[in-house]
Amino acid sequence: MKFTIFQESRRGRRANNEDRLGYCYSRDALLMVVADGMGGHYYGEIAAQIAVQTLTGAFQREALPQLQDPFLFLQKAISNAHSAIRDYSSEQRLNDSPRTTVVACIVQDNVAYWAHAGDSRLYLMRDGRMLARTRDHSRVQLLIDQGAISEAQATSHPERNRIWSCLGGEQAPEIEFSRKTPLENGDVLVLCSDGVWGPMPGELMAMSLKDANLMQAVPMLLSQAEVRAGTHADNLSMIAVRWEDSYFDQTTSAVSTKTMPIDAITTHLDQFGRNPAYKSELTDDEIERAIAEINHAIQKFSK
């Protein structure tokens, strides 16, 4: 297995970050998870944390180094995560159980398997285009599917945050599974929360990630999404992986798992960086002055 992977999560303009994300891999399998928690008093982030930990924990126990059945794995692990959140809220005697979305993807033998509940998304990009993406379990998606509203109208729809499937709620999550999807060299998989896809069209992400260095492109996309969202920026989280199985040069930052022992697992959960808000703008006068100053310097130093 050979791939490059990068993940980042930001608070946006919210008081705290209720997104959680992580990936882990063994010699022969890769797992990526993004969860977007909901619920007051910081419990949303606990729900998201439980979801990510349940999935990565199960992966660490079962991917030795392959998963027997990736879809079955996803189904069990997501259901267990749901139960674990329910258990947590009854232990804590919470009236309102915290909830979380989840999107998770396994890659094994160059085949991707993914599943989701809620409105965190997975995109598959190839050659700078969007080849596939998950359908949100949201009211607006239903309205779009019925032809009642357009994609564009959805972005500002008052109910865009209402989802009908998630983990931790009264009802068990409805988990939607992908097909087995063979990956080609250069394919990019993106998992992200709605704070990213809301303000950022998938086409733009696909183009920006094409042939780009993920360590640069992911932070740039998050920054762009954050700027586009303005003062309403939600938490933003993104994991992107570029599949490079036949990639030749070993001196890149690509991860090669060939030399890993069969029972080794590497796990990366994210720590949360703070992001200072950007400073104030330039006025017209300041622009004129800056230009005059630069032109003055050009004259002065050109001799």
């Binding site: 920054s223 762009q224 950007y278």
Partner: protein
Amino acid sequence: MIAATPMAQQANHALPTGFQLDEYRIERQLSLGGFSIVYLATDAQGKEVAIKEYLPNSLALRGEGEICPTITPEHLPAFRYGMKCFFEEGRALARLSHPNVIRVLNFFRANETVYMVMEYEHGRTLQEFVQKNRPAITENFMRNVFTRLLNGLREVHSHKLLHLDLKPSNIYMRNDHTPLLIDFGAARQTLAADTPMLKPMYTPGFASPEHYQQRELLGPWSDIYSVGASMYACLAGSAPQAADTRLDKDQLIPAMVRWEHEYSDQLLETIDWCLSLNHLYRPQSVFALQKALTEPVLPRPAKREAGWIGQIVGKLKKKTASK
């Protein structure tokens, strides 16, 4: 469920050929970056110039056939803020007048954005050059190009500026093989470290360890790391392992090991010296590095066999030839 979604192009459109931009006529687009578009244009006297247009993709969209980009009110503050960074690049370059640094000729405002006019140079980036002319990357080529480039960098440092984004794609090669520094976009880094959309962008493989970790340690030695990485990349044809992952596990094969006998020990040692992870072990000034690069090469015994890869390739070639 999987659903294919139709594509919509979102990239910015360039100004059309023949467009009269201030006193310049647009000839064609030279490049499209995330932050700007570069054009070839001619001035009133018919002289060729390169014009860089500030047009961050994420904040300003120019559709087909349009001249002024659309900047929604909510993006205006960020757009204006990014403009400050573009001015930083202009300010840095305006103060530098050196044959190995791109020359800025004018700066102006139009179409609701700003433009930097530069001397147009015939040539290509070092990255392109290396990719297309691998056999030309000889010992002499390396020494000549980098010694001259370092003249330019010395000038930058003497103005208390750091380039911070040195890499083969930001080094331009005139057709006569003299190098020059372009793209001082990273000057925006100092300023932009605290804005989300303009987060410092370093290029993995070329950025020093300080770029990633302790930015207060950035100094001339950080640009020197990038020079070493660029030299390494010229020989390797691809970027060296990124400094942050080297800090974790250094898998960079020293130039001394990788190209022994193909280039002088002295050149290879100098490259490895620049690529020291600890900034204190690198050449501390451009001058020190230049000295190492201009010292005469010690005479070396007659050329021995190439490395083992060379030997294998040699054998394979012979085999196919004899068929």
